[in-house]
Structures are given as C-alpha cells and as structure tokens.
Symmetry: C2
Subunit: 362 residues, 2 copies
C-alpha cells in the first residue's frame, strides 16, 4: 500500500469519525475503514458514548472476510479493559487483520501506545502518524482534556466591522444574518457545554439550546458571582432538570441559591480569587471533573476578558457582520490587556455577507 | 461556437486586459483574443494610455490570416475618431473578422453601441453581454467615471480584530504583517490617486509611494482645511514635482499655500460647506475634471467618515490583523452615522494571519 493510499484512507476514516461529533464525549471521535486489495470492504465510526467502538463497527460491517486486510483508524485501537466496552485489539487480531494504520496514538494513559504494542506482538504490522495533524485537529477537544485535564475552550461572539457586539450594555441586537445564526446552533450541538455571564443572561435572555439545526442541547452554564438572576428568564423554563448549572461564589446569598435550585438548576459555589470573582482555572477544573471536555463561551464582555486574561482560551470564533456602527458596546473593556490578544488566523468561513473568523492564540 | 466556448475566451480576454491595470487610465482595461477553428491565433491588450488598443495589438499578433475568425474583446470596439488612436472597427472589418463577441458595451457617449452597429452594418456577426458582470467588475473604475462623472472611491485601512487603527490618535503602529503591507502597495499601483487627511500625514508621515511591488506611484492627495502641514514631512521630499496635490479651503492661509507650492505641490483651494470643510462631492468633481477615475482613501478617521457620510464610497477594504487591543484609536468617531455603514461582503483574501475584507455599500 503506498503512502498516498494510506493518507487517502486515513482521511476517509477522519471524515467518518466526525459524524460522531456531539454524541461521543468524553470519548474521542473515531472512524475506521477496512481495505482489502485496494477496495473498502468495511467501515464504521463511534456513534455514541457507551456504544461500540469504530473498529468493532467496521469489522461487523465487512462484506467479505477481513483476514489479510488493512484497518485504517484515526486513533490507536484500545487495549484497556477498565471501561464500558471490550477492548478492540483482541477483536482486530482475531479477525486476521494484517496491517493497521493510525493517525494518532491515544494519549489516554490506559492506552498510550499499548494498543499498538499489543498488535505488533501479535504479528500485525502497524503504521503510526499518518495524517497526524488532521487527526489531532479532529480530536482537539479530547487531546486537550486528556493531556491537560481541562476542557477545550472556544470563545464565540458576533460583532460589527468596527468591533461592537451590541448598541449598549443592556441591549440585545441581532448583528449577524440567518446562516450565521444557524452556524451558532451547529456549534452548540458540538460542544459539551455553553457558558455565559449573568450580564448576558439579563441583556439577551437566551435559551442557549439547539433549535435551528439537528443536534442535542449542550449543558448550559451561567457564571454569576452575584446570583442576581431573574427566575423569569427563558433559560430557567426551557430545560431538562439538571441541564442548567450556575457557577457562583461561596459568598453568594443562600436564599438566591435555594430559589434557583428550586427551578431545577444545579448550583456550584466556588472559592473567590483576590478580585472576589470565580477564578477561571477553578471553574475549568470543576468542569473537567464532570467530564466536560469542550466549552463554548458565548459572552459577554467581562466573561470573555476573564478567560483571555487567564490564558485559558483555545479558540476565538468571531462572526463579523457587514456593518459599521461608530459607537456601541464592545466585546472587550478598555482594561483589556493587549498581551492576552495575540492570535493566528486559523480558518475563515463565509456565510452570506457575514464571515466567521477562527483565531487561535499565538 | 458554443456559449461555453464564448465564455471561456471572453474570460481569457478579461484576464489579459487586467495586465493593463495602473497603466491605461482614464482608458478602460481591454483585452482581445482572436480564435479560428477553435484555436487562439492572436491576442493583445491595451498596454498603456496613448498606445494601440487591444484589438489592434491582437490583429497584429495573429499567426495566420484572420479572415473568418472570431474576435473576443471584453469591451465593444471603438468607432469614434476624436482621440489619439485610430478607431478599431474599420481595422476589424478590413481584416475579415467574421464574428465579434464582447462582454460590455462601451458606455462612452462617443461609442455606446455605435461600434457594434458599425460592425453589424459591415456584415460582421456580433454577440454582446457574454460574461457581462465580470467585464463590468474589471472596468468598475471606468464605468463609474464615464456614467457618473466621479472617480471610483475605495477606502482602505488596517485594524485590529476589535476595530482599532492605532494605539492613539497621534501614533502610527504597524498593525498588519508583511504580505498585507505589500498588498497595499499593489493597490496603490492600480489607483490613479491616493488620498489622506492632514491628521494622518502628521501621525504617520507616509510616503504613499509604491515600493514593495512593481508599479507606478499614484498621484498623492492631501486633504487639509487648515494647511497646518510640516514641510519636513517625507511626502514633500520623495515626489516628482506636481505629483502631490493639496486640497484645501479657500479660506486657508495664503502664506501656507505659497510655502507648500514652493515645495512642488499643487494647491487646490475649494469652497467650504456649512461645517467649514471641503465638501466631498466638490472634491470628487475636481478630481474627475482632472481625469482621475479611481481614488484610494487611506485615512484617517475624519476623512473616512466624511466619505461614508457623503455616500460616495464604492468599496471598503479592511485589512484585519489577528490582535485584540481592548483600547486605542478607532477608524470611526462616536459621531459616525450607522445608516452610512451598511455593506455586503464582496471578497475575502487571506494573507498569512491577516485577512483583507472587501465590502461594498448596500
């Protein structure tokens, strides 16, 4: 099999894996393709958390005997047994697969090369690192979580060309067009959780659900030191119990906590830092403990700045609408520290006259 | 000849025409391709103002007899005689061209369909409107100038993600990267004139010349009501005499006018509007009288707003650099009128981590 063919089939496995997005967390996205004599004879992907792995789905789907075939899989097959499903390596060996090609080693300490070693010990030829960057990009939430014990954090907001996110602090204004709004719902469906600050809740009264595309609602998190939240807000009335969390400070009023808990919210009081705010690091630590591997921060000004100042942002997604306002409310306060605002442009995506710009920290 | 083939060859003519950019103003950009039996047997474009037209260059270049061939030309061939070069239509007829395909009718009142009529009268088959939009886009400076008697106006500036063009009003800060800066020089080489305000001259001390790419320097125009311009500025020392114009008010000091004229600048005093400023409409009228068909406005805040408020902007080119500053000096003042800031996104172009966004007014 040539290097080019290996790359083509691994790319196919990666594309297949992506179908699991929004359904497999905290597991990685995995796709598998079985190739024999240059033809694909089986394929599968990890469809949902707790369900069978991609490799097993691919083996099951095979239309002819797998013996002697090559298995393409973006992530190293698992060999560990301390989990819901049986390990994949024995099944691969049993099926008589002759060669396995993977993009990435599974950084999970329980695997981390042991799967590849077990395959090689059984006489299976293994190729590692094919389309490595693409595989890492696909599973960036998972890699961040496993290696740093923190969720992957993406900040998202819509702005005018001149950087305004609303006419004033207390107003909600539709800035972007239809396609861009739909795109935001698609994003939500892929992240484990969505987070906003209390001020954004008061100004926008959002539901933070997935409505304009198919997909599951993310966990909704409100960050509010004061707990001055009006129980009539939409978010408290359009949710399944337990699907809205409120992160607050230990010093917040007991009464407010009880009232919000009574609405079905989970209240998580955290220690405050020296500015009497929740420290972003502590917040992310709590989310990681709850196996939240990806977080979409949707505003507002104070929350976005806090994440950037803490150096805990992996991606900045800005939807820029084709308008100049001259004045209004900006995404960042005057006190924002420019040294926290150095990026590279990772990707651009046009949506009618809006553009989605994806930046990553330098 | 099929419709598809007609479009392919007209597109080639358009690409060829574009080589004349920066050299033929106030003439249009024109390219011509001669096709016989499906093969290109000649091609040419209008290379410089005063030089032979594209059609003539194409006929001269033909590698075999043109009789019976099709001539593709993005603009209607000229039939008028009140100009430097002889009209093209007689040459085309004489050469025995059987068919002529054009993208656009020449809106110039001296032509405006007369070229096509003359060809048809001589028995030449003519097809008009093939790739019409592309042809109009290519010659947007020329079409604006001929139909509205005003130059095509493009505003260009570089900003941070959050809309700042400098750290403060009096500072110049490099915002964009190498490729973007080179791109600005390419733009300058294509516009007849570049304009800045006195404040930008004082803060940036620019040369406004073409240095980082090949091309001729544009005419440089400074808009200054006060004429409070320091003679030591670079712009007064790196120019050919007459290549720097200063547009000012009739009420500006006579002494300052004489001093700047002594530096080789051309001083153009205009009447003031009710805010004691030069009216943008008057300014553009003067430029059009001088056969300036395209103007690149490079700042700053006051000048850019004045053009947008006057509704006299055809294009907004923003180079957005991957930085957040939180505070600084913005491209627009608080007094900017949002109704003057509605656009569609026309084009995007990535340059490393910068992005050039081209907007056009709605």
């Amino acid at each position: 099999m040539s290097v080019t063919e290996d790359r083509i089939f691994i790319k196919k496995a990666i594309r297949l894996a992506a179908y699991g997005a929004g359904h497999v967390s905290p597991n990685p996205l995995v796709g598998a393709i079985i190739v024999k004599n240059g033809r694909i004879i089986g394929s599968g992907y990890h469809r949902k958390y707790g369900g069978p792995h991609a490799e097993v789905n691919a083996l099951k789907s095979a239309t002819e005997p797998v013996a002697g075939a090559t298995l393409y899989c973006n992530l190293e097959p698992c060999s560990h047994t301390n989990k819901q499903t049986p390990p994949c390596v024995p099944s691969i060996i049993r099926a008589g697969v002759r060669r396995v090609v993977v993009a990435n080693i599974d950084p999970n300490p329980g695997v981390n090369g042991k799967g590849i070693a077990a395959l090689r010990n059984a006489g299976v030829q293994v190729e590692n690192g094919v389309e490595e960057e693409n595989g890492r990009e696909l599973n960036r939430f998972f890699f961040k979580f496993v290696t740093e014990k923190q969720p992957y954090v993406t900040i998202k907001y819509a702005q005018t060309i001149d950087g305004f996110i609303a006419r004033s602090r207390d107003r909600q204004d539709w800035i972007s067009g239809n396609l861009a709004q739909k795109r935001v719902h698609q994003l939500r469906a892929r992240y484990d959780a969505v987070l906003i600050g209390g001020q954004t809740l008061r100004a926008d009264n959002p539901q933070l659900t997935v409505r304009r595309t198919r997909g599951r609602d993310p966990l909704r998190i409100i960050l509010s030191s004061s707990l001055a939240l009006d129980p009539s807000h939409a978010i408290f009335h359009h949710h399944e119990p337990g699907n809205t969390w409120i992160i607050t400070t230990e010093t917040a009023g007991r009464e407010a906590m009880n009232r919000l808990a009574g609405l079905g919210c989970r209240i998580i009081p955290l220690k405050t830092d020296n500015t009497n705010r929740v420290a972003i690091g502590d917040l992310l630590h709590v989310l990681a403990d709850q196996k939240i591997i990806s977080l979409l921060v949707e505003g507002g000004q104070e929350v976005i700045s806090a994440f950037l100042h803490a150096g805990m942002v992996d991606e900045l997604k800005i939807i820029q609408a084709p308008r100049l306002w001259g004045s209004g409310f900006r995404a960042f306060p005057d006190t924002f520290e420019p040294s926290a605002g150095m990026f590279t442009l990772h990707q651009t995506e046009r949506m009618e006259s809006d553009i989605l710009l994806t930046y990553r920290p330098v």
